[in-house]
Structure formats: C-alpha cells, structure tokens
C-alpha cells in the first residue's frame, strides 16, 4: 500500500501533479485549500474588510470549487468579505439554462446572494438569436465581447468593484501557449497576471485558482461531492484552444509540472522581455484574458477602424500597438474606440435584423 507522505497513516489516493507527492484524501483537501489561502494572502486579494466581492459563477467545476473553497476559507481565516455569485445568462437553450439551475442550488448551499444578468436585457439579443442571425461561424466573437461587459455591468448593478473568476492553472497555461503561438506579447503578459485592473475602470478582476491544477480541482470537487454541471457550449468548436488544450494535457502526462512551468514562463517572459511599465492596454475588451475567448475575435474585430482623436494608439518599435482608453460615446463603458465593441456588434445585429424585416421583442441598443 502507498502511504500518505504527509500524515504517514492513511492510504495515498492522489499523486500531486506539481511535485509528485503521494497523499491521502484528507491531506489533499487540506493542502489544496491551504494553497489557495496562500495565493490569496501573498497577492493581497482581499485588502479591504467589509467589502462585497463577486464570484463569476457558471455552475461548472471551476467556479463551483472557487465558491466552495472561498466560503470555507473566509470562515476559517476571517477575510471579512462578503461573496455574491454573479452569473451570466447568454440565452443559449440547452446549455446555460441547466447550468443556471446548478448555480441557484449553489447559492443556497453556500448561503450567497445570486445575481443573474442576461444578454437579452443588456443587449436585446440572446445568443440563440445571434446565431439565428449570423450563423455558427464567428458567433463566439459576439459572446466573448458581450460576456466581458456583462460581468462588469452585473457587478456594477450590485455596487461591487471586484470580480473573482475560476480560471485555473491549465486555463492560463493554455492561454499563454495560444498567445505565444500568436506572437501576442501584450496579451501573454495580461493573461498570466493574477489580478488585473484598468486605469479608467474601478473594476478589478482576480484569479485565486491561478496556481491550481485542473486535475486537482476536479478531484477536490469529487471528494467533497460538490454539485457542479459539465457541458460544452452547443455553438463553440474552439478549435485553436482545443489544440492548445490537447497539447497541454499530453505534456502534463509526460511531465506533470509542465502546466505550472508554463504559467511561470508566462510571468517571467513578460517581466523580463517587456517590463511592467510597457504593459499597457493593447485593446480594451480583453476577452482573451486567461479565458475562453475565440480565435475568431481578432479577425472579425480587426476590421473595425478607429478614427483619430479618441484614445491614442502608439506604434512601438517592435511593431506592437499600445493604446490608451476612453469611454464609449454610446453606453459609457470603457473603450479604446469611440463606440465600444459591444455597441458596434449590437448595432450591426439590429441593422441586419431591420433589413431582413424580422421583428424583435425587446431589441434595443444599450444606454
């Protein structure tokens, strides 16, 4: 029998990918939580007692594990913060409606307030309607742009200025790989940061699970019998991320530390190659950030031209662009363009819609 190297009593049930340690179930649950607490303390994620903080909750494994551990840690170590679950309803039948039911149960289980913001009320369009209009190719662009704003808008409605997301080490390593393969150094830097804040927005975003392996998140959810929902978006093939993910999982099989090594490489590359001062906001809606955006975004949105005078774009000697931020003239959301991407997309949807003569219930642009 393999014995746990920590308690030296119980049967080992887990091999930790980061260091190969063989440990038992109860020691695993303990070190997993302790490491997240360490991440929180070392990065000063909760500087203000009494603050209300939103957890972006999808009902999936990552955000469910995030909510469960944060509830436990907040009670154990007394961060003195109050958590609110913030969910986005993209309006995708057969995908989001089931996972939202999970979030509703989580809200009761973890005794947290729940706020659901829908694309239909924010933008006048559900993703089902967007796909009906634009087809399955490129619809992820709409969803990615809409989602990022939706989280911010939802938090604002709640008078909250800090959003936590469930991005784990594997998510970040994938994004580092993707940005590396694209030669996108500014995004590579941002995606590896644990906390991001913008100079023009009060909204702060943090990833407390940044150093947690996906494998350990799934094991944690399994051993604690957490209630989560797994599904795949019915519209998203996500080809490029899928390849990066497969590559990462194959690498992990051969050398389990690869995942965290790539995360560390992302941090170091940026630190050494660009330096934090030059890391500005290349583009405003950073839906790539550590996240699950689409490789089509850049292609489609690359066609949007920015007139001079709003925000400024500097071409640096290495050819990368650095932009400064203004606000959208239409909706007031921060934007590097006169009109933010969400408003541009909504406007194009409404125009297409009018031209084909389909009437739309509640279809209005945002103000």
């Amino acid at each position: 029998m393999n014995q746990c190297v920590i308690c030296q009593t119980n049967r080992a049930q887990v091999i930790r990918p980061k260091n190969g340690q063989k440990i038992c179930k109860s020691c695993f649950l303990e070190v997993f939580e302790l490491e997240i607490h360490t991440t929180i303390v070392e990065n000063n994620i909760f500087p203000n007692r009494g603050e209300r903080v939103a957890i972006g909750a999808s009902g999936g494994k990552d955000s469910t594990v995030l909510a469960a551990t944060l509830k436990a840690l907040n009670e154990r170590y007394d961060y003195g913060v109050e958590f609110v679950l913030l969910s986005i309803d993209e309006g995708i039948h057969g995908y989001r409606d089931d996972s939202l039911e999970t979030v509703k149960r989580n809200a009761i289980q973890y005794e947290m307030e729940l706020c659901i913001v829908g694309y239909d009320t924010l933008y006048g369009w559900t993703m089902d309607k967007v796909v009906e209009m634009v087809g399955r190719k490129g619809n992820c662009t709409y969803c990615g742009v809409f989602r990022r704003q939706a989280l911010d808008r939802g938090a604002k409605q709640l008078d909250i200025s800090h959003i936590l997301t469930g991005h784990n080490a594997d998510d970040i390593a994938e994004t580092v790989l993707m940005n590396f393969l694209r030669g996108d150094l500014p995004r590579l830097g941002r995606c590896a940061e644990i906390m991001t804040a913008s100079p023009t927005s009060a909204m702060k975003r943090s990833k407390p699970l940044k150093y947690a392996y996906e494998k350990e998140i799934v094991l944690y959810a399994h051993y604690r019998e957490l209630d989560y929902f797994s599904t795949e978006c019915v519209y998203s093939p996500e080809a490029f991320r899928g390849n990066a993910r497969s590559l990462l999982k194959e690498l992990e099989k051969i050398r389990p530390s690869s995942v965290l090594d790539i995360v560390r490489s992302g941090e170091q590359l940026v630190h050494d190659a660009i330096g934090p001062n030059k890391l500005r906001y290349e583009e405003q809606n950073e839906w790539y950030e550590g996240g699950k955006g689409s490789e089509n975004d850049k292609h489609i949105l690359g066609n949007l031209k920015s007139p001079p005078g709003h925000g400024t774009t500097h071409q640096t000697t290495d050819g990368s662009r650095i932009q400064t931020i203004g606000v959208c003239e239409n909706c007031g959301y921060m934007s590097s363009q006169p009109i933010c991407k969400a408003c541009v997309l909504v406007d194009s949807l409404n125009k297409t819609n009018a031209s084909v003569g389909v009437s739309l219930g509640g279809g209005q642009t945002i103000h």
């Binding site: 795949e232 978006c233 993910r245």
Partner: protein, 106 residues
C-alpha cells in the same frame, strides 16, 4: 457470477456521461481474460466500454492511442490510477472505476 467475467462498477462524470447516453453508472461484467490470455486491465476495459456501452460515435473523446484520452482522470476505488499502474492495472472483482473528464467547461 461466472469465473469467466469480472463484475465492475463503472462511473462516468464531468461530462463523459454525455458519451454514454447520460448514464452515470454502469454495471459491467468484463471478460476476465483479454484475447492474448492475460488478465483484463484498464486499457482493455476502455476498449470494451467503447465497443459495448458507448452510444456516441466520437470514440476519440474517450479513447486515444489504446488508452484513456489525456485529460480524463481515472480513479480506481477512489484512488488516482497513477498510483495503481494506470492502464496496466489488472482489474479485480467489484472494483469501482470512475472516469471523470476535466475537459468540459461550465
């Protein structure tokens, strides 16, 4: 119980159940010996599940290169299969084998 088969409890989670007609638990009587006469192991079980139980045609979502696809965790009686010899682990009667995907989103 026939000596020619091994009774097993199979569990599917994390989205893998979608490949098995949403069945989260299966009882399987696996042939005790593989074609070459050796004792049945996890890799053989995976092959058996693909042929006899999986409803979805996308076999590569579960099995790749003769074993479980990377990114799917395997727990043998609630312990990481890496502790038990992975695909080469020889199955014992009444083992519970959990396959849980880490590849699906929320």
């Amino acid at each position: 119980m026939s000596a020619d088969t091994i009774p097993l409890k199979i569990e599917l989670a994390g989205g893998l159940e979608l490949l098995f007609d949403n069945e989260k638990k299966l009882n399987v009587d696996l042939p005790a010996k593989m074609e070459d006469g050796a004792a049945a192991n996890i890799n053989y079980l995976v092959e058996y599940l693909c042929v006899h139980c999986m409803k979805d045609p996308r076999r590569e979502m579960f099995q790749l290169n003769g074993t479980v696809r990377a990114g799917i965790l395997v727990l043998i009686n609630d312990a990481d299969w890496e502790l038990e010899g992975e695909g080469e682990y020889e199955l014992q009667p009444k083992d519970t084998i959990l396959f849980v995907s880490t590849l699906h989103g929320g």
